[in-house]
């Protein structure tokens, strides 16, 4: 009886794992996947190509200046 209970438990766990696996790895057609990828890169490249705000140039220049100052 104990062993039967154990088996039932094992089966339940196995089924859960299977269900989770299916849910975790849905399949997407190659074409859809390509479209998503293209859109993502287009959106991202648009962001990458934006001019760097002055605050970053200023910040780094300031830090560089500070470094020079303490060296002297």
């Amino acid at each position: 009886m104990t062993s039967e209970k154990g088996n039932n438990l094992a089966r339940v766990i196995a089924e859960d794992d299977l269900g989770e696996k299916f849910a975790a790895d849905p399949r997407l057609g190659e074409l859809s996947q390509k479209r998503i990828g293209d859109q993502l890169r287009a959106m991202y490249d648009d962001l990458v190509q934006q001019p760097v705000p002055d605050r970053f140039k200023d910040l780094l220049a300031e830090l560089e200046g500070k470094g020079r100052g303490t060296e002297k």
Partner: protein, 181 residues
């Protein structure tokens, strides 16, 4: 703190991709810029930990990602926002020259769970390998693959990128079309 010109140039060169990652991650340009600034400062104060010759960008992305997460957790505690929908408040349009047609995509991206969003951004947009992305996120390669996969699937359903739908839902037609490409 001494900032060598070489390092300064390398950091400055990394800013555009750090910003793109931060903006896509947080959905807010102002927050993203603060995040990038904090990343640069953190990187400089820990520069002795960086191993020359290794990927500087991956190291910087790791710092940015960790800063984002600690801030995210803090905010989640402060503001009642259990599902992370604050990231979905895409109110700020990134500066000039940006095309509006990415709006739908950005909105859909913001609706993803943040772990899926970051995995997709690292692998699908920033050009990191699955292995590098796993290192940046501090998780297993398989986890990254699964997150990227789920993110793509979710985006496709939100955006209704049903490339084949126009041609009918018949799976055999789809298969035939794909194999003939």
């Amino acid at each position: 703190m001494t900032l060598e010109p070489d390092l300064r140039d390398a950091l400055l060169a990394a800013v555009p991709s750090l910003r793109a990652f931060a903006i896509s991650l947080s959905g807010q340009v102002d927050r993203a810029d603060d995040l990038v600034q904090d990343t640069l400062l953190r990187a400089l104060s820990n520069i002795h930990r960086f191993e020359p010759g290794t990927n500087l960008n991956a190291w910087l992305f790791t710092i940015l990602r960790n800063l984002f997460h600690s801030e995210y957790r803090k905010r989640r505690r402060e503001v009642e926002d259990p599902d992370g929908s604050y990231a979905g408040r895409l109110t700020v349009q990134p500066e000039q020259g940006s095309k509006l047609d990415f709006e739908d995509f950005r909105t859909a991206l913001a609706k993803l769970p943040h772990d899926q969003r970051e995995a997709l951004l690292l692998v699908g947009a920033s050009g990191f390998s699955y292995e590098e992305a796993a290192e940046i996120c501090g998780c297993a390669v398989g986890t990254i693959k699964s997150r990227v996969n789920r993110a793509r699937f979710r985006l496709a359903s939100v955006l209704r990128v049903d490339a084949e739908a126009d041609l009918g839902p018949d799976s055999m037609t789809r298969a035939a079309l794909q194999s003939s490409r």
